[in-house]
């Protein structure tokens, strides 16, 4: 008994990022494991998984990219054009819908939406015309609404899901490929009042400002277009920051300093209460490849060289996973998740990039991976049972042409262009892999002939779920990578599946519906991409009720 207590108290210290009955946050929990501790559906019975309900939203433009949130048997899911639906998670019955009024005029980046956040009796939504809206969780009535920036002027909007931290709702935004200066903004959940803002590009007098040339900081990029994580014990909010602008042409913004253009292409850790920077780690100094660090930060506690450390695992668009100490931002290790990379030859043991291959102004430079990323924004998962992370990788390269461009606020600001190309040997393809995040050792690899652009979901049934552009939603054995089950959903996958339970029955839910900036731009390497189907249907699976 004493031994059991000792064991329990040890476990209590390790952070638990698993979800159970609910899927309460965008990444599962604020530690962003995308892992469910439910094991009713497992490797021995997954073959019997059947669809139990479907919900067609009607909002198919730019695909169905969301992560549903499930709390106490109710699912909250957003679609393109910032519409929100509350559904009975066991039956798919519509409880309420929130139809967002269509904004006047064009919006940058598109109307896609990657999910809502739920807390304090409200459902929070970032909109495609750059508002944050709070909706009553019970009735679907609008409670408050606040504009983050004038989308007509800034060339920015919100496509990512908000993050709930204590009594705050924190939102990032797009704008990294426009002439725009990025930031994170925190609002009060109850009143919508501004609590803090952190600019990812420091202004005059602030530390890091000296890493920008002239006035380039004013429209220097650093968009925060995906969703962050939160460690309650350290009270730190972690957020990935996007590329410096212009994307491919750096002469007008890069100083001679080694860590040019802070805090673009960095993971930042902010004090949750004040929004003040505690530490940063810049993965790609002076980015010239559009290699955002905007993706999710997975927070895990693991032993490294005999010492238990609080880690942050972060995949960069350049196809490298960076492992950091999340208490202080110290570099722990880095390893590639793509086979084809030539923008650098590697990362040293202390985190320095070596052998940079930069695009040249006015001529095509062949770079791997491409600007769409060695991984797109679709998210990785972590299973504490296997100790592995599960990553979706793209083996696609591109010809980059850098070109000086005048910055005009809100206008497209790539500073050149890219054309997707296959890798040097063999056709473009993708793969799901399992890695030990501490050693960086690949455990298994599941190859696929087109682009895998849906998130990974890991469960305690030792399954990894994801979907492909041809419409298949499938389960892999988390230990071996063997495909155990597959179902044709009728439309391609670009969203994030989740697991939850109602009345003791485990469900797996996935958005279906192809479409996004990246998925719409794949035809140069995959002419078959013309046949990948759009749509917007939520598909939900479970084991048959009789004889689970």
């Amino acid at each position: 008994m004493r031994f059991l207590f000792a064991l329990l108290s040890v476990c209590a210290f390790a952070e638990d990022g698993a979800t159970r009955q609910n899927w309460p946050q965008h990444g599962g929990t604020n530690l962003f494991w995308r892992y469910s501790a439910l094991d009713q559906i497992n490797t021995s019975n997954v073959k019997r998984l059947v669809p139990v309900w479907a919900f067609q939203t009607g909002d198919y433009e730019m695909g169905f990219q969301a992560t549903p949130i499930v709390i106490d048997g109710v699912m909250y899911v957003s679609t393109s054009r910032s519409n929100v639906f509350a559904l009975d998670a066991a039956t798919g019955r519509l409880i309420w819908q929130y139809k967002y009024p269509a904004p006047r005029g064009a919006v940058p980046y598109g109307p896609q939406n990657r999910g809502v956040a739920v807390a304090a009796g409200k459902v929070f939504l970032g909109t495609y015309d750059d508002y944050v809206v709070a909706i009553d969780q019970k009735t679907g009535a609008e409670s408050w609404k606040v504009n983050v920036e004038d989308t007509k002027q800034c060339g920015c909007n919100i496509t990512g899901a908000p993050l709930i931290v204590k009594d705050l709702v924190i939102v990032g935004g797009t704008g990294g490929d426009s002439a725009h200066r990025g930031y994170l903004t925190a609002f009060d959940q109850k009143t919508g009042r501004l609590r803090w803002r952190f600019y990812t590009v420091p202004g005059p007098g602030e530390k890091g400002h000296e890493t920008w040339k002239g006035d380039s900081w004013k429209l220097g990029g650093g968009a925060t277009w995906m969703t962050g994580s939160y460690d309650p014990e350290l009270n730190l909010v972690y957020w990935g920051v996007g590329n410096a602008s212009s994307d491919f042409f750096a002469e007008d913004r890069a100083s001679s300093s080694e860590d040019a253009n802070l805090y673009t292409n960095s993971v930042i850790a902010l004090d949750a209460d004040t929004g003040k920077l505690r530490w940063h780690y810049q993965e790609v100094p002076k980015d010239v490849w559009d290699f955002d660090s905007a993706y999710e930060s997975v927070l895990i506690d693991r032993e490294v060289r005999g010492k238990l450390r609080k880690l942050l695992v972060h995949v960069n668009k350049g196809g490298f996973t960076f492992v950091l100490d999340r208490a202080n931002g110290e570099f722990v290790s880095a390893f590639p998740i793509v086979d084809n990379y030539n923008w650098i030859t590697g990362v040293t043991e202390d985190g320095k990039l070596v052998g940079r291959k930069e695009p040249v102004a006015g001529q095509a430079t062949y770079i791997c991976p491409g600007a769409a990323g060695g991984k797109s924004w679709n998210q990785i998962a972590y299973s504490p049972r296997t100790g592995f992370i599960y990553t979706p990788s793209l083996e696609v390269c591109n010809d980059l042409v850098a070109d000086r461009q005048e910055a005009k606020e809100g206008a497209s600001f790539f500073g050149g262009n890219f054309i997707m190309k296959p890798p040097p040997k063999g056709p473009a393809h993708s793969h799901v892999d399992a890695y030990d995040p501490v050693t960086g050792k690949r455990q298994w690899s599941f190859p696929y002939k087109y682009a895998l652009l849906a998130s990974m979901l890991a469960t305690a049934g030792d399954l990894v779920f994801t979907g492909d552009p041809e419409g298949n939603f499938f389960a892999l054995d988390a230990k071996s990578g063997k495909k155990l089950w597959s179902f044709q959903t009728g439309a391609g996958h670009r969203g994030s599946s989740v697991s939850y339970a109602v009345n003791g029955r485990q469900y797996i839910a996935t958005p279906t519906g192809w479409g996004s900036l990246v998925s719409n731009a794949l035809t140069p390497v995959w002419p078959e991409a013309e046949t990948f189907r759009s749509g917007s249907t939520l598909m939900v699976f479970a084991l048959p009720e009789d004889g689970r």
Binding site: M62, G105, A106, P108, A141, E142, S143, W144, K145, V146, N147, V148, E149, D150, K152, Q153, C154, G155, D177, R181, F187, T191, G192, R193, L194, R197, G203, K218, A371, D403, Q405, K408, E409, G410, A411, S412, F414, G416, N417, F418, I419, M420, G515, L517, V518, N520, A521, L522, T523, P524
Partner: protein, 219 residues
């Protein structure tokens, strides 16, 4: 300098304006690329397109692709200008070098920049006001009637925008940016005129004068 929606700056030709609109709405590497050289979507330069084809495609889009119709999305002058620009990319000179819709003086242009100056964060006119297509329509430029309201024991200055029998909609002006709150009528107490002062401290007198010049010019 911001891209002007439906407005030409001094001495800007229709093709130059179209180039600005194109850069903002069409030129991403995911779409038609810089100067229409192609990206995820087809190249548009030197394709031998005629004007009618450019107009139809720009207006209606291409069904089944990411190319949406811009006929109702772009303001008319922007639409015409972007068509002229793509036509020019295909060797077609604009039929008229349309006279600019309006020319703003240097002082008014400076005022326009200040009105929506991004470096001031939320402390800029366009956080609450619209002029010349810029900004967020919280309140008209000349507005009185800020009152104190109480919700859940929290009293703050507010601008009431709609007052139905069941729901009341108002802007909370206690901090910038203003928050639009929509609450049950029974849950809000509307009081006397508030001792609220219009915030303008981020601008000096010369800047306010330039803004006034701009507002006069576009009124």
């Amino acid at each position: 300098m911001v891209i002007l929606s439906g407005v030409f700056t001094e001495a800007q030709s229709i093709v130059e304006h179209g180039s600005d609109v194109f850069a903002k709405s069409c030129a991403s590497g995911y779409c038609h690329g810089t100067n229409g050289q192609g990206g995820g979507a087809p190249k548009l330069a030197a394709r031998g397109f005629d004007e009618a084809f450019i107009i139809t495609t720009t207006r209606a889009g291409v069904p089944g692709t990411a190319m949406q119709g811009y006929g109702t999305v772009l303001a008319r002058p922007d639409f015409n200008a972007v068509v002229a620009y793509v036509a020019k990319l295909n060797g077609i000179e604009p039929r008229t070098n349309e006279a600019p819709a309006r020319v703003l003086s240097a002082e008014a242009l400076r005022g326009r920049e200040l009105f929506s100056d991004p470096l001031r964060g939320f402390a800029r006119c366009s956080t609450c006001h619209v002029a010349d297509g810029l900004g967020i329509a919280v309140a008209p430029l000349a507005h009185a009637g800020i009152v104190n309201v109480s919700i859940d024991g929290d009293t703050f200055p507010a601008l009431v925008v709609s007052r139905g029998g069941r729901r009341i909609s108002l802007y909370d002006l206690s901090v910038l940016p203003p928050v639009q709150r929509t609450v049950d009528a029974g849950a809000v107490k509307i009081g006397e005129a508030a001792a609220w002062r219009h915030p303008a401290e981020s601008y000096n007198d010369a800047e306010l004068k330039a803004i006034a010049t701009f507002l006069k010019a576009v009124r």
